[in-house]
């Protein structure tokens, strides 16, 4: 029978919509303008615009290679040396939660894998509420992750386009109306895509309100250390909530802060009532994980564990993370300085106030389009730029372009 005689099984399969961010990178690649800049990239770049492999990572890799380890399957929950250190990094060395054994932390496929395991777990066991409340806006992938896990998406006010800052009152208003036991997603630091984070006093009020509303807190921490340059400072909100008695769930990624993007290193933590509950939860997480990928990949977790558990490497890592965060902060300052030099009279304070890899410039879609067409500056339509794509070599040109489309 000829293949062509049969109707394909897939005749009704629709073409999936192109990924908006990928589209930006594709268009950038095709552009022949030597001055082109890619500000869509969600990965750190050095001041030459090149990917950066951390020195502590290379050292860890050399140490690991010398050990000549085998390749036996990890446990479903991952590498113990990694998960313990991962929890400590987020919660703090002396955290009571870790001491009492009431957290369960499993190794996951970076941040996405962690969010998905969490979403699946809540979907299966948090049956009293189906709704997840995301900040408006949130990382684009949050919505389909929770949806595919079977939960429903709602939103709470977060970003204020008028100030390019945090709409604190708007957030409180919306949160006060969220039905009890719903899940609320909070970005621990370096909010993606806006770069707008609550201040500590604001976090305290949010924590209070969330407790009053009896909401389940899901923290997404993809940038610990990468935001302010200080890992404790970036984890402050997470630790505060736990101190206040919230039994949170937490996703962590080591893609950005260790530059381990493609190795897929992450963790998912559930803070439970006690160690007994943690054991039950752990057993169910394993049941969820096994039919997705059986057990997680070793390489990245081993690198991360080596760094976190070796004092010299840990110290070096803290320095390098600080360095990356500092370069971003410097670029923010340079961009604003250059905009002023160009003669821009707009208020660009938000570029410096915002934190982390991304900056919500406030540019409108038409302005973004002009910036791309006339200056070969590539970014997403929502006006988001990745500060990692900015270098001392291109910041002047970037400022020219932004000024030209906004004056």
């Amino acid at each position: 029978m000829q293949v062509c005689d049969l109707l394909s099984w897939w005749s009704e399969v629709q073409m999936g919509p192109p990924d908006p961010i990928l589209g930006v990178s594709e268009a950038y690649k095709r552009d022949t303008n030597p001055k082109k800049i890619n500000l869509g990239v969600g990965a750190y770049r050095d001041d030459q615009g090149k990917p950066y492999v951390l020195s502590c990572v290379r050292k860890a890799e050399a140490q690991i290679a010398a050990k000549k380890l085998d390749k036996e399957y990890l446990a479903i929950g991952g590498l113990g040396d990694f998960t313990k250190a991962c929890a400590k990094l987020a919660l703090g060395d002396d955290n009571e939660v870790i001491k009492s054994g009431r957290n369960i932390t499993v190794q996951t496929i970076s941040g996405t894998g962690s969010l998905r395991i969490g979403a699946n777990f809540l979907s299966r066991f948090h049956t009293e509420a189906r709704d997840v409340y995301l900040p408006k806006p949130s990382w684009g992938n949050h919505t389909p992750i929770f949806r595919d896990a079977g939960m429903q998406l709602k939103a709470y006010t977060y970003y204020d386009p008028k100030t390019c800052g945090f709409d604190f009152q708007g957030a409180l208003n919306d949160i006060s109306k969220i039905p009890e036991k719903s899940v609320i997603m909070l970005h621990a630091c370096a909010h993606n895509p806006t770069g707008v984070d609550p201040r500590p006093e604001q976090w305290k009020e949010i924590a209070d309100l969330v407790k009053k509303r009896n909401l389940l807190v899901f923290f997404d921490m993809a940038y610990q250390g990468f935001a302010s340059g200080d890992i404790d400072r970036d984890a402050w909100a997470v630790r505060y909530f736990i101190e206040q008695g919230h039994n949170i769930v937490l996703s962590q990624s080591f893609a950005k802060n260790m530059g381990l993007y493609g190795e897929r290193v992450g963790g998912f933590t559930v803070v439970c009532k006690d160690a007994e509950e943690a054991k039950r939860v752990e057993s169910q997480l394993k049941i969820l994980i096994r039919p997705i990928y059986s057990n997680p990949p070793m390489n990245g977790a081993r690198i991360a564990a080596t760094i976190l558990n070796t004092p010299d490497l840990y110290k070096e890592w803290l320095g390098e993370v600080h360095g990356m965060a500092n370069r971003i902060i410097t670029m923010r300052e340079l961009l604003v300085a250059n905009l002023k030099k160009e003669g821009s009279t707009r208020n660009w304070k938000h570029v410096i106030d915002q934190i982390g890899m991304f900056c919500f410039t406030g540019l409108k879609p038409e302005q973004v389009e002009r910036l791309t067409k006339e200056f070969s500056v590539y970014m997403t339509k929502d006006g988001r730029i990745s500060m990692a794509g900015v270098t001392s070599g291109n910041v002047g040109y970037l400022a020219q372009g932004i000024h030209a489309v906004t004056k």
Partner: protein, 411 residues
């Protein structure tokens, strides 16, 4: 406040891992672990393939490599090379441009992405009622993969005939004839897990004929290519036959065993579609599924496999390593059967050498298995499945004697 997790029940441990955990705790000097499916040398040690060590060294020394994200569908060099390994270098389907792939986390990941895709897009849209048939018995995780992907109707198809200790051909054919049209069938490409019993080429041909006529969907699980007979081509015969018969199919490939890369999670979901256009749309939807599951796959293992498969010398070296593993298993099969016969162990033991791959379905019943574990400290699955790789020249006598004693004493 009442914990939200107060009602979360303790789940039972995954059996195969519990077995290994129990084995570890056992202090008996003669203990043998015939549970988990991982290759062991004759010294009962894990074996990192020499070609893998070589390629890893190349990677470590290459300062031009970084840790950037792979594309959502994975490393292109891995995807194409892996599909070639399954379908053959000169595959007409590949030449026609109607073969694509999704790099996945091990064979499990490939199965899951395939299952998620089928649930969404096969036999209608989001048709969770499409029956999924898995062999009786099958790898225990098959059920959960398809059910967690949303399928509501997962059924066994006859496979193992406990009486004759072989394939229940009549049973398979009956189930194929009676399955609702468009049902999905999970077929083990070779080295059936857990029975080690594969259809013959003629039996595969008959299966293919019925599946085509009844419009049944072919989903191959290929976890042991090369590892079963020692020959990559021989072990892929069934897959290639079905492709040549015009089936659109999915094939979940694992490189855990044949590359010994267990913990790096290297797998590949090969997609054979009718034409380029269908393939493109299918892959675009696979991307969406991957994006909400793990975003993009891990790079280390993929690099190792891609470099090896795409380098002629390394490829030859790899095939040699694979044959080394397959040959040791074959030797253990021969010797175990010979020893059981020499001991005069009740029953017939031909199935030990007729079966193929890592596993053997010994035919021991649950009571006998318990005796083996508790009294003889020989650990095997409740189904009677043993991992041949757990046998070595040093323990094979003890294991043979243990089986002999068990079968004699326990009914």
């Amino acid at each position: 406040i009442m914990s939200i997790f107060a009602e979360v029940p303790q789940a039972p441990p995954v059996a195969v891992f519990k077995l290994t955990a129990d084995f570890r705790e056992d202090t008996n000097a003669q203990k043998v672990n015939l549970g988990v499916g991982a290759y062991r040398t004759d010294d009962c040690l894990p074996w990192v393939l020499p070609v893998v060590k070589k390629v890893e060294q190349m990677i470590v020394e290459d300062n031009s490599l970084n840790h950037e994200y792979l594309p959502i569908l994975g490393l292109p060099e891995l995807r194409s090379a892996a599909s070639k390994v399954a379908l053959g270098d000169d595959s007409p389907a590949i030449k026609d441009g109607r073969v694509g792939a999704v790099q996945a986390l091990g064979g499990t990941g490939a199965l899951r992405i395939g299952a998620e895709f089928l649930r969404r897009w096969y036999n209608g849209t989001n048709n969770t009622a499409t029956p999924v048939y898995v062999s009786a018995p099958t790898w225990e995780n098959h059920n959960a993969v398809f059910s967690d992907a949303g399928f509501k109707d997962i059924r066994p198809y006859h496979y193992w005939d406990g009486e004759k200790k072989g394939l229940d051909v009549t049973g398979i054919m009956d189930d194929l004839e009676n399955a609702p049209e468009h049902s999905i069938f999970v077929l083990h490409a070779c080295a059936h897990n857990p029975t080690g019993t594969d259809p013959t080429p003629d039996e595969w041909k008959t299966i293919s004929e019925v599946m085509k006529r009844r419009k049944l969907f072919v989903f191959f699980d290929s976890a042991y290519q090369g590892f079963a007979s020692g020959s990559l081509d021989k072990d892929a015969w069934a897959i290639r036959y079905f492709v040549s018969e015009g089936f659109e199919l999915l094939c979940a490939q694992s490189f855990s065993k044949n590359f010994g890369l267990y913990n790096e999670r290297v797998g590949n979901l090969t997609v054979v579609a009718q034409d380029k256009d269908n393939l493109a749309r299918v892959l675009s939807q696979m991307e969406k599924i991957v994006r909400t599951t793990w975003s993009n796959p891990p790079s280390q293992g993929a690099r190792i496999v891609a470099i090896t498969l795409n380098n002629p010398d390394l490829f030859i070296e790899w095939k040699g390593n694979v044959k080394t593993m397959a040959d040791r298993v074959l030797l253990m099969r021969d010797q175990l059967k010979a020893k059981l016969i020499a001991l005069g162990t009740p029953g017939t033991w031909d199935h030990i050498t007729q079966q193929i791959g890592m596993f053997s379905f010994t035919g021991l019943n649950p009571k006998q298995v318990q005796y083996m574990i508790k009294e003889k400290h020989v650990y095997l699955m409740a189904s009677g499945r043993i991992n041949m790789c757990g046998l070595t020249s040093k323990n094979i006598d003890y294991v043979a004697e243990s089986i002999h004693e068990t079968v004699s004493k326990v009914q």
